[in-house]
């Protein structure tokens, strides 16, 4: 079981867990696959050393902070907001993929 699966298993009793699982599964299936990272913040997905999104659980909802600067956040408690957040995540991932990071 991966760290991400373990995390999703830990929060499975929360009201937002089904939507959180869907989001994580879809982000994991993006190509090239972002790297997941578990911490006190929740789950963070990185691509090419840049943050795609960060998902933090708060009981009935979770907050999705999207973009390398995590400048946009969505309070996800329903399907409609989850769809908009996932749409944004996919666009950010595509943009990061199109513009490779300048490694020193």
């Amino acid at each position: 079981m991966s760290d991400l699966d373990g995390y999703l298993e830990d929060v499975r009793d929360l009201a937002c867990a089904p939507l959180l699982r869907i989001l994580c599964e879809q982000v994991q299936r993006l190509e090239p696959e972002p790297q997941s990272e578990i911490g006190a913040f929740g789950v963070r997905f990185r691509f090419d050393e840049r943050v795609v999104c960060e998902l933090s659980v708060f009981g009935a909802l979770f907050i999705a902070r999207v973009g390398p600067d995590q400048a946009v956040d969505y309070r996800v408690r329903d399907v409609a907001t989850a769809a908009v957040a996932l749409d944004h995540i996919v666009r950010v991932h595509a943009a990061l993929r199109a513009a490779p990071a300048a490694h020193a």
Partner: protein, 303 residues
């Protein structure tokens, strides 16, 4: 004013006067074949699993068919994002319908340029298409199927029932029945060309699920062969993307698309955003070639 001093001969032979030399002796009225039944172009697009290039190609071809005023329905059997609906600017809840809970049965949504996209269709739903979706498929002039790596013949059979593939008699088939020396020469030339690596046509009269399949990004011929094995006898054309063309091995690819930005970055397919882009022109030519392969011109149906 009479620039040509030569007298016009009333006995000059015209083409219709000499056509009996290589065609049958039947009168021109009898040569008229009955109008062929309306047919739907069915194209499958598969990828080699890298970066969703096949859904990008599918979205661009859908745009080109729409620009040619061909009524197009897109089936997206590959659930990975960004999918075709995403690239054709559907609302998030529409193109994510296959993953979001309580999204309802499969339905048809209108995307960019009025293209019809079947959304909310997990593989388990393929067995029973809702009546509304089936009506759209029946009314379509073109069905594009974006296939995932596991798409097989059984799934395609439920979406696109095998057509009774009995082409209307063409000039060539009529000429074949005349046993003329000219036709024999044509056939010899065609056989020589086929021997140089062109994809072999399926046996005449074999029912097939798709009119053509496109293997996208397959830099080597074996990847295309794997797709062909799953959906035979549909002919599979290899399409190489961008710089992949330089690494293509095996037979010459059917098409090479210049590298371009993804619709996920541009916000819509390059074919609709910049129709003069070299890649868009390539997609346009491919759409025309696919229609021509079905024996139809570009100015066909309605959108």
């Amino acid at each position: 004013m009479d620039g040509d001093p030569r007298p016009r001969s009333s006995s000059a032979r015209r083409l219709k006067d000499i056509s009996h030399l290589y065609l049958s002796q039947r009168s021109s009225a009898r040569l008229q074949s009955p109008a062929p039944a309306r047919r739907c172009l069915r194209v499958g697009i598969a990828g080699d699993g890298h970066g969703g290039l096949h859904s990008e190609v599918c979205a661009n071809l859908a745009v080109q068919f729409a620009r040619l005023r061909v009524r197009t329905v897109v089936f997206d059997l590959d659930p990975r994002l960004p999918n075709v609906g995403f690239r054709l600017r559907l609302d998030p809840q529409a193109y994510l319908a296959h993953v979001l809970p309580a999204s309802g049965p499969p339905r048809v949504e209108r995307a960019l340029l009025g293209i019809r996209v079947v959304v909310g269709m997990p593989p388990s739903a393929i067995a029973n298409l809702p009546a509304a979706v089936q009506e759209e498929v029946d009314a379509a002039a073109c069905v594009l199927v974006c296939m995932d790596p596991q798409t097989n013949r059984q799934q395609l059979e439920r979406i696109t029932p095998p057509a009774d593939w009995t082409p209307a008699p063409t000039t060539m088939t009529r000429a074949a029945s005349s046993h003329s020396p000219m036709f024999e020469a044509w056939m010899a030339t065609a056989a020589a060309r086929r021997a140089t690596g062109r994809p072999a046509a399926p046996p005449f009269g074999t029912p097939r699920l798709l009119d053509a399949a496109i293997a996208v990004g397959a830099a080597n011929a074996t990847a295309g062969d794997a797709i062909a094995a799953r959906i035979q006898p549909t002919p599979v054309h290899r399409l190489v993307w961008g710089s992949g063309a330089a690494h293509a091995v095996g037979s010459t690819p059917w098409a090479q698309v210049p590298e371009h930005e993804s619709a996920a970055v541009l916000g819509q397919p390059v074919s609709s955003l910049d129709p003069e882009h070299p890649a868009a022109r390539t997609y346009e030519n491919l759409a025309q070639a696919l229609l021509a392969g079905l024996g139809r011109g570009g100015g066909g149906s309605h959108v």
